[in-house]
Symmetry: C2
């Protein structure tokens, strides 16, 4: 089942159920006005939304206007972003000139959750000198997870999967990392692809708590990366358990994978610019690729091997604030 959110003048938008081909929709209605309300009482919401999905499968529904779509969760109570791809962490240490992080536990910070940009909204930044970078990643949306839930028990709390661009300002990141307090200025609002999907939508490509799809990333119309989500050192269920170790996770919490990176990056490319710069540093001593400029576009779309983009695409313009 695919869910989306339509703009209608409210901060949370209007919840839609979308047909498998992404072309038609039915509004979820007054009882489930938005996705945050639905995920808060998912056990009751899911059957109602599945019933609408069945009607869509039978041919009902109105045409979906992609231009009206916002992030499936335009805001939520909590966003915890992991960094679960080990090769990404190694390359970032090279790019940032920082020490290796000794840890047998996931890396995770809390980021801003009061705004997720929609898939085609222009994204404003104040200055190109901030080192504007994209980070293509996957995420999960959980219902309420009690404190102390272990990884096995966390898996069924993963109700929806999402695709995210975690916008990053690299000129501010090293200082913030060196404080030990994590990223505030270096991590403004993220973007989401239009469709939040139930895990069953991916069939065998949702495996071991990982989204095993290639994430195609295009920068100004040129292919930049197509790494696969399967190489996470920790599955999403392990990230959820890590996050829930000392807190109850509120329903609607989004947990991110961190930048999708593969060991075979020479072949598949990267999902963020900083990684490519690190690879250039390894090869030639210094980075060659600049960060983004105003007017640049980035497109991100995860594809099934047989075709089809279950999350839809992020396609955004970087603008001057």
């Amino acid at each position: 089942m695919r869910l989306a959110t339509r703009a209608q003048g409210d901060p949370d938008g209007e919840l839609l159920v979308v047909s498998a081909d992404g072309r038609r929709c039915l509004a979820a209605g007054a009882r489930w006005p938005n996705l945050l309300a639905a995920i808060t009482r998912w056990d009751a919401a899911e059957p109602a939304l599945r019933a609408l999905d069945a009607r869509l499968a039978a041919g009902e529904g109105a045409p979906l206007d992609a231009a009206e779509l916002r992030a499936p969760l335009p805001r939520t109570w909590q966003w915890l972003d992991g960094s679960a791809f080990a090769v990404h962490a190694q390359l970032m240490q090279i790019a940032f000139g920082t020490q290796p992080i000794e840890s047998d536990k996931p890396l995770m910070y809390q980021g801003m959750s009061d705004c997720f940009y929609g898939p085609t909204e222009p994204v404003p930044f104040s200055d190109e000198a901030l080192g504007i970078d994209f980070e293509g990643e996957f995420g999960v949306v959980v219902d309420a997870v009690p404190m102390g839930t272990d990884a096995a028990a966390a898996l069924p709390h993963i109700r929806l999967l999402v695709q995210i661009n975690d916008w990053s300002l690299r000129a501010l990141a090293v200082r913030e990392k060196n404080t030990g307090f994590g990223f505030v200025q270096a991590k403004p609002a993220c973007s989401m692809a239009p469709f939040a999907i139930t895990p069953d939508e991916l069939g065998a490509h949702w495996r071991d708590g990982r989204v095993c799809l290639d994430l195609g990333v295009d920068w100004n119309g040129r292919r930049f990366g197509q790494a696969n989500g399967r190489e996470m050192a920790f599955g999403f269920h392990e990230l959820v358990a890590h996050a829930a170790a000392t807190r109850n996770l509120v329903a609607g919490t989004v947990i991110g994978s961190g930048t999708v990176t593969n060991a075979d990056y020479a072949r598949v490319g990267s999902s963020c610019i900083t990684e490519r710069r690190a690879i250039e540093m390894i090869a030639g001593g210094k980075p060659a690729t600049p960060f983004m400029a105003f007017g640049d576009r980035v497109r991100m779309e995860a594809c099934l091997p047989g075709g089809g983009a279950p999350f839809g695409a992020i396609d955004q313009l970087v603008t001057k604030a």
Copy 2:
């Protein structure tokens, strides 16, 4: 003006205006059902709430039942905690055995905002071995602050002041700080004192963006600290500007001072246990004071020099989850 939130079966509770002596209240009513709704449209809400405050001053209102009070903001969209007392940062480096942080900018991390415990709620933790500690601090609540707002322009966005206990799990903090990603497991939900107050309530004790009051902290009935809020290296307006450098701050964002600490800690004591342990390490080579045990209580109350506690008191029991 003092505001409080009464439990009534809803996650956001019911907004109350409270008399200056803290004994009577009037419900804000259906238009301003909770504080998050009011701060979101503060320019419209404030006159309505001030009108109720005038009626309270004239003797109206029902008795306030302190047992019904929750945190003034039981949940909000964003909580950014600073560490603005320079002596606190220095003592924490000694306690944690970490390197000094070189920075001319404030230290700040994003913490969980989907739950603030009320002033007398028991607070559950899974294990005493986590190093259960309190952190007495002050905080501000802002209305919507546009990205790029400077410190001078940030000051009038500070609409309310609050008093916070930032619960901390010290056994988990050093690892998280060393990752550079900030605190997730080490910082579970915080608590708030019962009253959020407008800055004018403090008169001259709200000065240079600082709450210039002694924060009395009692652990199991014995005075532990009474440091004054005036010694922040950065005022709250500077913390707000730091937070807003690259993001719009959503209305209802709470920004914290970090643990209240004074240079004269030998006389005034501390607002968290870890600091006392660092002072013991300086004096005798090793810490002597243990962290909190199940069944312990901590009480925090900021007092005006002439008497009176404008925020009310936090008084909580630590329990086994």
